[in-house]
Symmetry: C2
Subunit: 296 residues, 2 copies
Amino acid sequence: MTKTALALLNRPSLAAPPHREGAEPFVLVDSGQPHVRVLDLGVTRGDGVFETISIGAGRPQALRAHLVRFARSAAALELSEPDLDAWEAAVRAAAAAIDPVPEAFVKTILTRGVEGEGRPTGWAYAAPADDFTAARRDGIRVVLLDRGYRHDVAQTSPWLLQGAKTLSYAVNRAVLREARRRDADDVVFVSSDGYLLEGSTSSLLLRVGDRLVTPGVDLGILAGTTQGDIFAFAAQRGLATEYALLRPEDLQAADGAWLVSSVRHAAPIRRVDGVDRPVDSEFTSALNSYLVSRTE
Amino acid sequence: MTKTALALLNRPSLAAPPHREGAEPFVLVDSGQPHVRVLDLGVTRGDGVFETISIGAGRPQALRAHLVRFARSAAALELSEPDLDAWEAAVRAAAAAIDPVPEAFVKTILTRGVEGEGRPTGWAYAAPADDFTAARRDGIRVVLLDRGYRHDVAQTSPWLLQGAKTLSYAVNRAVLREARRRDADDVVFVSSDGYLLEGSTSSLLLRVGDRLVTPGVDLGILAGTTQGDIFAFAAQRGLATEYALLRPEDLQAADGAWLVSSVRHAAPIRRVDGVDRPVDSEFTSALNSYLVSRTE
């Protein structure tokens, strides 16, 4: 019984080709043992990037979209360009090495490596997913929390790394503690000038009539892979899709609202700052049926 | 020849007493070997805190002030309260285990530990300091960079963890790359509403006539241990000291300006955004003589 699996990437495969031949670009190791040195900038400075990829019935979902975003985050941090073929092989190997379960995930991590060595560190970790049945069916309670930045900060101040999926996520954890204190499950970040942004590790999706709406990625938020798939799904069903500047009153007035992400999938928002709002059970169910059964 | 040393804290000593008896609260290990697991929230989320303590001629400097701030950062992240006596013993042991050098440092790190285990991880790492002679004598070039937050964000939005010394320092590293692109060595952060804040890992200090001035810690910045010691030193020399709201024009007009920190000590600012400014060599030299020779 193998519940988790860890693929450590070899040094040469952490940067883009010149292509290796022959040997695997990673080695499968025991995830319970320590593999990270205390001088790794991933742990001393949160200086690295990550992705979390859902595995449905053994198949990675939206894998290439995740890997492309992984490379984009690495570029934002000026890390060397990852060899995405090597990473794809590592993700598949880690996913295949755990016992079959309906839903699992693989987390990929690329750090700047041990300080002074100038070589990145990378691994892919696979494990079964938690059970999100209740969140998907009954919904979640959110609070709106200030992210502190203006909506245009990614344009004015790119060194703040907004829109990159970095290992510096202490704030994303702190807001969940604040949410719990306020009797909620998650947050929707709001810019300092009052625009809706995203969840702590998810995208915000609204349904307004027969239109799906999400905040634009020029707001310094992540380009959601799950949100992207949902927009493609919506187009097939004849729903319009739109990226827009949204205000808290748009969330209040929406016919449906969700936080969507790779592993929890579509969690309908049933309460905002203590005020109940309707859940669109039928569309939620359709969304999650689609998301759970996605192939690549 | 031992250039570096690593003291891993034992689990029971990572939280405040009930006091252990007998055994050391840490174990000295080989810092070149991996000691961190890939599920440690320190590396997956930058979810932890740190301090860097200078060691002058074998003696930790401002040790208690660092440890008190360490505990304050831990409290901001709702980590369990560290047993400061155990940490002090670990810092001293790591510092004593390296070959004698005039200047060294010890870095202490406390993380939330491996996800799901509910127990923190902690270590103290000692190594010789880099040679900062040139920065202390000739000065550094800085650029002013937007931090994105208003000056009052620590009061309005405490979940943003401003003022805590966390492992989520990817932005503090990114701004140094931006500084290098602009032909500079370091940055002075400015709030989105135009107030001077601090360096990437240092405090800003200005001399205006016979008065030393620094931004107040209610601006979501770190309470500088070195800045605190300098204020005490200044008081002995009959200089007034003040915490104030400062604007970029105050830096421009100041008689002296420094970024001060635990290991580099007082680095005079000799250029701001490409414009040279005078360096007060005499006072700089007095400051660094004091800082280098501090006992606890």
